[in-house]
Structure formats: C-alpha cells, structure tokens
C-alpha cells in the first residue's frame, strides 16, 4: 500500500513541477532564452504571498492573482527593456545575463527578507483527506488542482486566442511572423511576462507546501529545466508529462535509494534524456529545434 501512497505523493509533487516548468519551457521554446532567474522570480511570488498572509491575514489562495499579476508586469518590463537588448547576441550571453539577474534577485531577497526559512501556514494546514490507507493533505490537493487548471488554461490560451497563436507563430518562424504583422519585441515581452507570472504563481503555491528561503532558487530553476527537457521544449503538454514523471521518479527514488540522492537522480534522469532523445518525450523538431 505504501507504493500507492508514494505514487500519489509523486503525482501531487509533479503537479507543482508542471506549473514551474510550464513558464520556463514556454519562454525557452519561444524566445530561446534559458531563464536562470526563473526560480528567483518564483520566490518573489512566494514572498508576496508570505507578506500578505503575515500582515493582512488574507487566505494564501486569494493572493494568487496578486503574485501572478505583479510578476507578469515585472517579467514584461524585464524582457522589453533589458533582455530584448541582447536577444541577438550569442546564446550564452543571455544565459549569463539571466544568471546575473538571479544573483541580483537572490541577494536582494537575502538582504531585505533575510536568509531564514519562511512558510505560510493557514488554519487548515494540518487537515487531510483520508481514503483507506492513503492520506492526502487538502492543501496539496488544492495546489495540484490549481496547477492542472492553470496549465490547461495556458494551453487553451496558446491554441485558441490571437495572441497565443502569435506567440506560437513567433516561435516557429520569427521572420514570417514579422511579415504577417506581428511585433516580435512585444511577443517576446509578453511570453516572458507569462513565464514570470506562472513562476510567481507557482512560487505562491510552493510557500503553502514547504518552507522556503532565497537559497532554494537555483534548485527550483533546475527542476523547471529538467521538466522542460523531459517533456520537450515549448510544449505545455510536454511540461505536464515531464512534471509528473519528475515528481514520481523523485519521490520513488527518495523511498527506494534514499532522500540524499534525490538531486543526483533527477539530474541523472535529465542527462540520460539529453543523450538518448534531446528533443524530449513529446518534443518535435518544429518546436524544439536548437537555434544558434
């Protein structure tokens, strides 16, 4: 029966990984930017929820739109007035630029919010749903549900709306997109804004399920990266599959091999995927093409 519980835990964790991966994979697939500051942006979202809960005692789930919108704006400004200036340079320039940003944000949070671990614990934090032998905390269930709903909404947005289609078109062929009247500078900014907004949202959800400090930013970014690699770049359904696989593998291996090898196994999985099929489980040439 313990295996079933582990599977459930893995799926619940996988839901969160999906959400943090969706924003990352979208930005990567469309703009070819590996946003190493993704985890730090997620933590900004987590701090927003924390501070609102701390000072106004608002329910953490109510703060989700706030952290989404503020990170959305932050991401838009960042891409429009900073990253767009270097988009055409060699690829690792942007990698280092986002890492510079990560160092800045993490140190900013450490200086002003301290390096202590913080957590958000509403009244209902302890209660769980019990199904036979399986225990599911309500909060984790809620977090999972939100992750799935947001992922579906994002997928719907990309497939059905004009802006979503413009984003996809830009990722396929930037020149052709420009010819049909799409302004790539705006689309890039919008994509990055969505990526950051989703990161902020996932950070808020993270604050509900575990304690966080500025130092975990790098770990979050790498998780998002692994999810993107597993699923295939720029694909929402890929991130969903990748997130669930990573969540289950991580919880499974923690149980079988030991908690302290968790990261090594996650990275091993990623390196293996890169060697066998770099385009990911669901990756197609058309989206995940390596641009130089």
């Amino acid at each position: 029966m313990i295996i079933l519980q582990i599977l459930v835990n893995g799926f619940l964790l996988g839901g969160f990984y999906t959400l943090i991966g969706v924003g990352f994979t979208l930005v990567w697939g469309v703009t070819n930017i590996i946003n190493l500051a993704h985890g730090a942006i997620a933590l900004l979202g987590a701090y927003i929820t924390y501070f609102i809960f701390q000072y106004w005692h608002l329910d953490p789930f109510v703060t989700l739109p706030v952290s989404f919108l503020s990170m959305f704006l932050f991401g838009y400004v960042l891409q429009r007035y900073l990253m767009n200036l270097v988009v055409k340079a060699q690829i690792f320039m942007l990698l280092i630029l986002t890492f510079g940003l990560e160092i800045f944000l993490v140190n900013f949070m450490t200086t002003f919010f301290s390096a202590d671990f913080k957590s958000v614990t509403p009244d209902y934090a302890g209660s769980s749903l019990v199904l036979g032998d399986i225990v599911i905390p309500y909060i984790r269930l809620g977090v999972f549900a939100i992750c799935v709903i947001v992922t579906l909404l994002m997928s719907f947005f990309l497939d059905r709306t004009w802006t979503g289609k413009a984003i996809k078109a830009t990722s396929l062929d930037i020149e052709a997109a420009m010819m049909s009247g799409i302004n790539p500078a705006k689309i890039y900014a919008l994509t990055f804004a969505f990526g950051s907004g989703l990161a902020g949202l996932s950070g808020s959800l993270l604050s509900l399920t575990q304690a966080f400090s500025p130092n975990i930013a790098g770990g979050l970014t790498l998780r998002a990266f692994i999810v993107s690699i597993l699923g295939g770049l720029g694909r929402i359904e890929g991130a969903f599959l990748g997130g669930l696989v990573l969540g289950v593998v991580e919880t499974m291996s923690s149980y079988v091999i030991g908690e302290s090898y968790k990261n090594a196994i996650a990275f091993g999985l990623m390196v293996l995927m890169l060697i066998i099929k770099p385009s990911g489980l669901l990756g197609r040439k058309y989206y995940a093409e390596v641009k130089h």
């Binding site: 590996i34 060699q90 320039m93 510079g100 944000l105 390196v271």
Partner: protein, 319 residues
C-alpha cells in the same frame, strides 16, 4: 608583434614576482585569489572560447581536483605536490568519459548538462561520507612554517599554476588542435566534412581544460585547508569565470586572465566597501558587461576608448 607582447608579459610577470615582498598580507591574499580565478578562466577558455562550447559547470573539475588532493593527503598521507598530477588526471579521465556523450549536445543543452554533472558530482561527494567526510567536510593537514612564508608559498604556487595554464593555452592555440578547435567553433559540420575528427578534438580540448581546472582545485584545497562540497562546487564561481572570459575576450590567450584581474579586483573593492550588497553589485556588474561589452573590453576598445562604442554594441544585438 608577438615579441613585443611577450616582452610586456615578462615585465608584468617580473612585477608579480617581486610584489609579495612589498605588499601587505591582505593584498597577497587578494592577488592569490585573483591568480586562482585567472588560471580557472584561462583553462576553461580552451573549451569555452576556443571551441565555443559553453561549459557552464566546468567548476565540477575544480571540486573534483580539490577532493582528489584532499583525500590523497588525508587518507593516503601523500605530499601536497605529489597529489597535483592526480588532480589533473582525475579531470582528464572524467572529461574524457563524460565528453563522449555530452559533447554531442550543443548550446544551451551542453551548458545545462554540465551544470547537471556538477550538481550530481557534488551530491555523490556529499554522500560518500567515509571517503570525503560528506557534509562535514574534509580537514587537510596544515602547512608547517611561519604565516608569512605560507602566504608567499601559495602566492607563488598559484602564480606558477597561472603561468602554466597560460603556456598550455598558448601552445594549444598554436598546434593542430587549436586550429581544429577554431574550425569547430566557426562551423562544426564544415569542420567534420574537412576531415577533422570533431568528437576527438572536442574531448581533447575539454580534457586539457579539466586538467588545468583540476590542479587549481588541488592548490585551493591545500590553501584553504578545509573543504566541503559547498565550498568547492560553487555555481557562482562558474558565472564569475564566464564573466571574466567575456570581459577579456574568449578567443585570445591572455584575455581571460586580464578579465579575471579586472573583475576580481573590482569585486574585491566592492566587497570591502559594501559588504551587505556585494552580491547585488556583482549581479549588476555581470548584467552591465553583457549589455555593453559583449565582445570583451579589448575587442570593443581596440582603437581607443569612447562611450559611443558602448552604445553601438547595444544597438547591434537589439531585437
């Protein structure tokens, strides 16, 4: 032209040799640290600048080198200098084994795969408690002698390491390997068609760079006399190294060293003046370099300094 450059470099070296007899212990330490970074950047430049493979996690070899020296000195009671060849060897072996699958990847994929490798090795080291001391760290035997002597010893050890790194980097750029790497950087498919065994040359380049970085790690471990997984497998070092290579210019032999001197001295001044916001300033500095000096300081200001050039760089890469 080369003679003139060599002459300038020798004068520079001569100054560095006599400097420790006039400066304070603090500056001795700062310069030792600067040499360390200069050697890491010079070594890593062989794979990053010459070959064009952004090995973001090259610090993995630094950590491995540090632990090889640490373990050999504590568990097998070897002398310090005798352990350094093993640190280099560990880097070469690891890079050769990993190079075959990993160097098939390009761009972002390669960059992050190397980060993944670094994190994985760190965790393995963290878990091999019996050999490496795990999270408790490893305390190396402390060097005997006066503090003055020890400071100077490491200063010269690091300086010699840097000179060796520069020498190797120079030789690599002049032999067939260097030309092959240049061809790979410009167009890998074309290089392959021309009959260059690209996997072999790429792996060789990575192995050489890993050996240099490994030796740096070994010296660092004995200098610090205490290492733990988080002090030698440091992501920030990777970024610093990258910023140094960019600042100095990655396709030259001497560029990364100059980049290291500039960045490390700036960062030291910032660190001593504004300790609380040091990290934030470092982040901003890196962003500034990428925005205004993406080609490196020396390439940008070849014909003299002007603010115009800074902004022309900015316009060039704009979307």
């Amino acid at each position: 032209m080369l003679i003139k450059k060599l002459f300038l470099f020798l004068i520079f070296l001569l100054i560095l040799v006599f400097l420790p007899f006039v400066i304070s212990g603090y500056w001795l330490r700062v310069l030792t640290q600067t040499f360390l970074f200069a050697a890491i950047a010079t070594g890593s430049n062989i794979i990053i600048g010459y070959t064009g493979y952004p090995a973001f996690g090259n610090i993995a070899f630094f950590g491995v080198g540090a632990y090889v020296t640490g373990v050999l000195m504590t568990k097998y009671e070897m002398g310090f200098l005798a352990t350094l060849p093993f640190s280099a060897l560990a880097g070469i072996i690891l890079a050769s084994i990993l190079g075959i699958p990993i160097l098939r990847l390009k761009g972002h994929y390669f960059a992050i795969a190397t980060v993944g490798i670094m994190e994985t090795i760190r965790e393995l080291v963290d878990n091999m408690t019996e050999l490496t001391g795990g999270g408790l760290g490893l305390t190396l035997p402390i060097m005997q002698g006066e503090p003055e002597f020890i400071y100077k010893y490491f200063y010269f050890a690091m300086l010699i390491c840097l000179v060796f790194a520069l020498l190797i980097s120079f030789v690599v750029s002049k032999i067939k390997l260097g030309y092959a790497l240049k061809a790979i950087r410009v167009d890998e498919d074309a290089a392959s068609v021309m009959g260059i065994n690209t996997p072999l040359y790429k792996t060789a380049a990575w192995a050489v760079s890993a050996a240099i970085v490994g030796v740096c790690g070994g010296i660092y471990a004995y200098w610090l006399s205490y290492i733990d997984p988080h002090t030698v497998f440091v992501g920030t070092y990777s970024v610093k190294m990258f910023a140094m290579i960019l600042l100095g210019g990655g396709t030259t032999v001497i560029g990364p060293m100059l980049g290291a001197f500039i960045l490390e001295l700036i960062s030291e001044v910032v660190w001593s003046k504004f300790i609380a916001i040091h990290g934030m300033v470092l982040g901003l500095l890196i962003i500034f370099i990428i925005l205004f000096l993406p080609k490196g300081l020396f390439e940008t200001f070849k014909g003299g300094f002007s603010f115009k050039k800074l902004f022309s760089n900015l316009r060039e890469n704009k979307l």
